[in-house]
């Protein structure tokens, strides 16, 4: 099929500079932040308005090509990889903020706006957008919505779905529609709820009505340093068990802290095996009391040392260090895959031991930094070979062992990164055939042709990676 007429039509819609068709323009859209898979799109188009998105969708669908929506491409599950080719619709040009309402604490923003840019804009109002994924300095609101992104502060504030009131969506036939509204209670179906986390398979989100939160009066951050991962996990469980819900409760292991220290002066210790990064926000009177209680628990759980961030700069340093941890792994190995799994918080120490064992057994180095407070784990598998090497089977096996261990204790196979390509074949490990069929019927209602971000989320029945089959054929959840 010649694409020339489509290219001309797309150029007419978005302008020549933003309808990409040359090999050197397309190739960079083969991949997102999932390093182990790449597929070249047939075309890439970057619309500037909702109207343009709608026209683009109509034009592409008339030719029957699939559409893959894309934000900044910081997703770690391959959700923006155009596996079947087709047209990548990147929303990165749509960065406008249409309205900030400081009284009702809402804003209407375009999908391509960068998460951290929104929060920076809200600074003068004393407001912020709560979801703060590690990639927030680059990731877009649209991408956050598509993957129901989390972040360290989700522990207290909830994930993206708790902060989106409404969405403007371009459906698979080009229809532009709004779901939800500024009102907190909408009549009818909660379509906003099912669109958030739909990974671009229901349509293209072009605008979001987001909820904003007011900055608290006081904030304190501490780093409790431990000699073993076990002790750090027990301490995190103890904090939660005491009834305190900090705004953030993270664990970062020694390998990751040392990697971060190589590029940043984050203030992490060089000689610890694990550290808890805890943040408490609230009233000026209550915060010191809480911090004191948390410090006491940490000490009781064998903390070798506790350091509190004395200045705002120290605090920013610790958080920057935490959020740069994934990128810093580039210092340790050529390739890294950040897994995203969950385990109940009462099982943290046990599951972390199992993760270590899986890595040792399969000879894959594993670095860990994770949201201990809500049991959302991020084991990072480090390796030197390419994904088309036979050795990659060990990476698959480690991934599967870790997921299986989480499921066995009542956890899940993804917390905040989505299923994308990476985890789709494992949906059946968590859900029955009937569950999956029900989800598919919802998808079909939005996109009967399966043209929007095809082959994502749902199992395809193909090998889990390239030609590598699942090592653990076990599946079929009977909960």
């Amino acid at each position: 099929m010649t694409l020339a007429p489509l290219i001309r039509r797309l150029q007419a819609i978005v302008g020549n500079a933003y309808a990409l068709h040359r090999p050197e323009d397309l190739i960079v859209y083969e991949q997102d932040a999932l390093m182990v898979s790449r597929h070249k799109p047939d075309l890439v188009v970057l619309p500037d308005t909702t109207q343009q998105v709608s026209e683009v969708v109509r034009a592409v669908r008339e030719l029957g090509l699939p559409i893959v929506p894309r934000g900044a491409g910081t997703g770690l599950a391959g959700g923006a990889i155009p596996e079947r080719g087709g047209v990548v619709v990147a929303l990165t040009r749509m960065t406008r903020v249409h309205d900030i309402d400081p009284i009702s604490k809402t804003a209407v923003v375009e999908a391509g706006l960068v998460n951290a840019d929104l929060t920076a804009m809200l600074e003068p109002y004393g407001l912020f957008f709560a979801p703060d994924p590690g990639s927030q300095v680059a990731a877009t609101i649209g991408g956050n919505v598509a993957n129901n992104a989390g972040g360290p502060h989700c522990l207290a504030y909830g994930v993206t779905s708790n902060h989106v009131l409404g969405l403007e969506v371009v459906l698979a036939d080009g229809t532009v529609t709004w779901v939800g509204s500024r009102a907190l209670d909408e009549p009818g179906y909660d379509l906003t709820g099912i669109l958030v986390g739909s990974e671009g398979t229901f349509g293209i989100v072009t605008k979001a009505i987001v909820r904003l939160l007011a900055r608290r009066e006081a904030v304190r951050t501490l780093l409790a340093i431990y000699d073993t991962m076990d002790a750090a996990c027990e301490a995190a469980s103890a904090v939660i068990a005491s009834g305190i819900v900090p705004e953030a409760l993270e664990i970062i292991d020694g390998m990751s802290m040392r990697a971060v220290n190589k590029t940043l002066q984050a203030g992490f210790p060089e000689d610890a095996e694990a550290a808890l990064l805890i943040e408490v926000e609230g009233l000026a009177e209550s915060v010191p009391v809480l911090i004191e209680r948390i410090e006491a628990i940490c000490h009781r759980q064998g903390a070798r040392r506790i350091q509190t961030a004395a200045t705002a700069q120290d605090r920013m340093g610790l958080w920057k260090g935490r959020k740069h941890a994934y990128g810093a792994l580039g210092k340790l190995a050529r390739r890294a895959i950040m897994l995203d799994v969950c385990a109940p918080r009462s099982h943290l120490a046990r599951i972390m031991r199992q993760i270590t064992e899986a890595g040792t057994r399969l000879n894959i180095q594993v670095a860990n930094f994770f949201h201990a407070g809500d049991g959302n784990l991020h084991p990072n598998l480090l390796f030197e070979f390419d994904d088309n090497s036979p050795e990659y089977a060990r990476v698959v096996a480690t991934t599967e062992d870790i997921m299986w261990a989480c499921i066995a204790v009542g956890g899940t196979i993804t917390g905040e990164h989505g299923l994308g390509m990476e985890k789709r074949e494992y949906l059946g490990w968590m859900n029955s055939d009937a569950d999956i069929a029900a989800m598919k019927r919802v998808r079909d209602a939005f996109d009967p042709d399966g043209a929007m971000n095809p082959d994502k989320v749902f199992p395809t029945g193909r090998p889990v990676h390239g030609t590598i089959p699942s090592v653990r054929a076990a599946g079929g959840a009977d909960r």
Partner: protein, 414 residues
């Protein structure tokens, strides 16, 4: 033009996390992955592994980069994109369309390495500016050529020529330093070189001005002429003494380049060690003076200044606090930070001549950020930034003086 791209090992450190994207000035303008550091690395990697032909389109993407190195500040993994860009551009050759490329190559190969020839060119520019021809040209030239004509900075009334090879310290000696007089600084900012030397000497520095020094080679390194840059680096390594406390420059771009001589000459067994030694001695004058401490109490002047971080000082050398500390030492001077002071102004060596659209867009943002501070002086300790900001002042009518840090310190008698 189809060439093969060798494997650039530095590229392997990138794990495609994308945290650099929104810190890259060209990505912020275009929102295209090809205009981002991660995208450029992807292109280089794909070309090295035979998955992509090195077409002129690839060269265009790699030359849209300002080489500001803001991505290095952003990168959690410590990818030194500056080095990646230099290596890739060396394969591609100089930027631009064939005629432009030939001009750039000629200038880089046959003018930059020769201080005498550079001086002659600057003398022609000076004649052109003083004779009134420049004013005429700005009116008569075709529109396409008016912008480059307007960008051209005013040549100094006199070029900087060292009066001796060693200038003694004034008062009790505290340090012995060598000084790179620089090409742009000598020919377009001679009075700043003079101010710098007065300031250094008043602060107890004996200053060595090596006779046989050459341009630092930064422009050559950034524009695909690494071989000639190496020759210039060797000449400087030979010319400069190393029995000094520091080798100083008042140009951020030169400092960043000379701090990398060890890397540049890393494959040259005859020069490697000396180049490394040279690089460890290199300091920006602001960096050096902040560490040394000002000896005299400066005069007070009530004013608001704002500070533009030269990319190759902030991102290239990590020097941010020191110039600000020196400004803070000036009584009456209030530093009011602009938004994104470490974002490139669009100067970037010869970038403003070769990429007018991108350069102008960045300059417009920058001038707005400066205007918003209400400052009467913008300090930008690098010749390229100063030329660009002075052009911005004229073009956008922002009532602000563009000064070098050394200017203000010298004027205050520090």
């Amino acid at each position: 033009m189809i060439r093969t791209m060798p494997v650039i090992p530095e590229v392997e450190t990138c794990i495609h996390c994308g945290l650099c994207l929104n810190q890259c000035p060209t990505y912020r303008l275009t929102h295209l992955e090809t205009a981002s550091p991660r995208g450029r690395i992807y292109l280089i990697e794909a070309a090295s592994h035979g998955r992509l032909d090195v077409t002129s389109g690839v060269a265009d993407h790699l030359y849209l980069c300002l080489a500001c190195r803001a991505c290095e500040t952003a990168c959690p993994s410590g990818v030194q994109y500056g080095r990646v860009a230099e290596a890739a551009r060396d394969v591609l050759g100089p930027p631009g369309r064939p005629f432009q490329r030939a001009m750039v190559r000629f200038a880089l190969r046959h003018l930059m390495p020769h201080p005498g020839r550079l001086r002659s060119v600057a003398a022609v520019i000076r004649f052109y500016q003083r004779s009134g021809l420049a004013a005429l040209a700005l009116r008569l030239l075709p529109r396409r050529l008016r912008r480059p004509a307007a960008l051209l900075p005013e040549a100094s009334t006199r070029f900087y020529t060292p009066e001796a090879e060693v200038l003694p310290a004034i008062g009790e000696p505290r340090a012995r330093v060598a000084f790179l007089t620089g090409c742009a600084m000598s020919l377009f900012f001679a009075e700043i070189n003079e101010a710098t030397l007065r300031l250094l000497r008043r602060n107890g520095c004996e200053v060595v001005l090596p006779q046989n020094q050459a341009c630092c080679g930064a422009l050559n390194i950034h524009n695909g002429e690494v071989a000639s840059a190496r020759a210039m680096a060797r000449r400087n390594v030979d010319a400069f003494p190393v029995d000094v406390d520091a080798i100083l420059t008042n140009a951020a771009g030169c400092g960043a380049a000379m701090k990398e001589y060890g890397h540049l000459l890393g494959d040259d067994p005859d020069y490697r060690e000396r180049a490394e030694r040279f690089s460890t001695l290199v300091r920006d004058t602001g960096e050096f003076l902040a560490a040394l401490g000002l000896r005299n109490s400066p005069k007070a002047t009530d004013r608001v200044v704002t500070y533009q971080d030269p990319c190759h000082l902030a991102h290239g050398q990590g020097v941010r606090a020191q110039p600000r500390a020196l400004l803070a030492a000036l009584p009456g001077t209030t530093l009011r930070e602009m938004v994104a002071s470490d974002r490139c102004c669009g100067s970037a060596g010869i970038y403003n001549f070769l990429q007018p659209e991108t350069s102008d867009a960045l300059l417009a943002e920058k001038m707005e950020a400066i205007r918003a501070t209400g400052a009467s002086v913008v300090v930008a300790p690098n010749p390229g930034c100063m030329m660009q900001l002075r052009y911005g002042v004229r073009r956008f009518g922002v009532p602000v003086r563009v000064a070098h840090l050394m200017d203000l310190l010298d004027e205050a008698g520090a």
